[in-house]
Amino acid sequence: MSTATIADTPVELNDEGFFVNPEQWTESMADELARREGIDELTSAHWTVIRFMRSEYFDKGTGPTVRVLGKSSGISVKELYQLFPKGPAKVAARIAGIPKPRGCI
């Protein structure tokens, strides 16, 4: 675990770069978090995914897998991988300030 400064605010991240306390996240941190993942600009489609990640996390206690994202976020699996080439659920979770989603499928 380490403390990082995102948008001038100290936040706790685990060894894999996921937020330890999702409550520390604010929307103003997303751009900087995205750049850390190699995404230069967040489009409205990225934001759809980010908001869906957070609402699922707070609803169900874990973020959605790619399958759930593809079925329920309104964005297809193909497009999800275009938006987040290094793994949609994992990368979007880091940008959305939630723990790594758990699920095999």
Binding site: V66, R67, V77, Y81, P85, G87, K90, V91, C104, I105
Partner: protein, 155 residues
Amino acid sequence: MTDAITKVSIIISKGSLDGVYPGLIMANGARAEGIEANLFFTFFGLDAIHKARHEHIKMATVGNPGLHMPTMLGGIPGISTALTHFMNHKMEKLDIPSIPEFIEMIADTGAGLFACKASVDLFGLEKNDLIPQVQDIITVGEFYEKAAGGQIIFT
């Protein structure tokens, strides 16, 4: 994270439900982690990408001690179909996609799907017999070229 896995090539060689799913789950999971993944279907594993057969992949009920039932029972006509229905129903409840849906999703994640040339020849198949997501029919040598620099998993 210097020894992190960055690429996997997964071989699916069996044509039963329990022979096909593990490889699919590993390929899909690899892509979700941002790992490059290729799927290579050989021998009876080809059924998983066969247009007419991929919707009818069944549980192996004979010679499968994991089912904990007498071997002779497993051979009774209809048992394999019944158990396959039961298993599919259970998986649907857990929101695990059917094999055709799963393979389509895996292709959408950007994983490569390939058929083994020796097996395609052996079964007298053509590219047209296979689902459109299959990129190519390749030789074992071409498989090793594609697998270069990554891990190979045989299922």
